[in-house]
Symmetry: C2
Subunit: 196 residues, 2 copies
């Protein structure tokens, strides 16, 4: 029987390898050559899945964002509106070593977004979806009784998104885990503010 | 009379050129060759001021951080504690085109910090100084009467720093200026919270 290759699986493997190389050594470390070597592929085989490094980078960005989206959607169906909001906020915060390391990949991808409009759009779309979901959850949890489209709700969503991004950047400038307590304290304080 | 060269001035010029190249084309755009060409120097002359690209990058990081520090320290001596805090917060927020573009350079430098411990330390030191100054100003402005070292004051400082960093990143994913209203609303809301 001929060997059956699961092409989607292969693509995912390549993306995982790229992510690991980027997290360890930055963008320069993830060359077509180093990806091929780390994935144990023949050089030509990689080209079959991704024509260029840009293609791999876009797929890697997608994968990191997907991971966050999955964490955000993993929710206890019996959670109260307050718990549902807190879980959603915490999903994007650098509160464990895995997420702190993943942020390295995000940082590389943000940097590339500055000169790559497709990547910038990809992240902008995520920010829009993220903000819409946040406003829904804030409105549901908030004692103030404001609807999702109220300015105060939007302002809180913008604050949370900015804090999450900024916390990811700052965490990378410190020994892994050093700032976790601070960001946990932020989330606790935020929840108290919303509980009113 | 022999021509007198102001070496500090020359170094500053090189750094300005590097900043401009990075802001326009990302890290890859700022090569020793392109810096030489844009500065109108002979190749050997650049090496006299900076031995390597890493040296230029470190000086560029320093210059961008210095610019923020200067904006932060430009304060009306007659400002009330509330105004002094607001000015300080706004100094780090991407509220005009120049600051939004400068954030491109910061993003490049943050990315390089992940694999360059010296750059990471440089930024970590700035974060420490920034937080200390913020806690002093929050404590002075806040009706709650908490001292700078109170946990609630520290938590607010961490929030402000994270928001400023995150806002800089998110602004770069959008057309220049699109998010300015949101961040102005954040600062206004923050000042209301502190006024109690």
């Amino acid at each position: 029987m001929p060997k059956v290759i699961d092409h989607d699986q292969r693509r995912r493997e390549i993306v995982e390898v790229a992510k690991k190389l980027i997290a360890e050594g930055g963008f320069e470390a993830a060359t077509m050559r180093s990806i091929v070597a780390a994935a144990g592929f023949a050089n030509g085989a990689l080209k079959y899945y991704f024509a260029s490094k840009d293609g791999i980078i876009a797929a890697t960005f997608d994968s990191v964002l997907q991971e966050t989206a999955e964490r955000m959607s993993m929710l206890d169906p019996d959670a109260s509106p307050m718990e549902a909001l807190q879980g959603f906020v915490e999903a994007a915060m650098p509160l464990d070593a895995h997420r702190i390391t993943s942020a390295r990949v995000l940082l590389v991808l943000w940097e590339h977004s500055v000169t790559n409009p497709d990547l910038a759009r990809q992240y902008r779309d995520l920010l829009t979806t993220w903000r819409a979901e946040l406003t829904r959850r804030i409105a549901a949890a908030w004692g103030a009784g404001e609807p999702p489209e109220a300015p105060a709700v939007g302002a809180l969503a913008d604050e949370i998104i900015s804090v999450a991004i900024g916390a990811n950047v700052a965490s990378l400038m410190h020994p892994v885990g050093e700032l976790v307590d601070r960001y946990t304290a932020y989330v606790d304080g935020l929840m108290r503010r919303i509980a009113g």
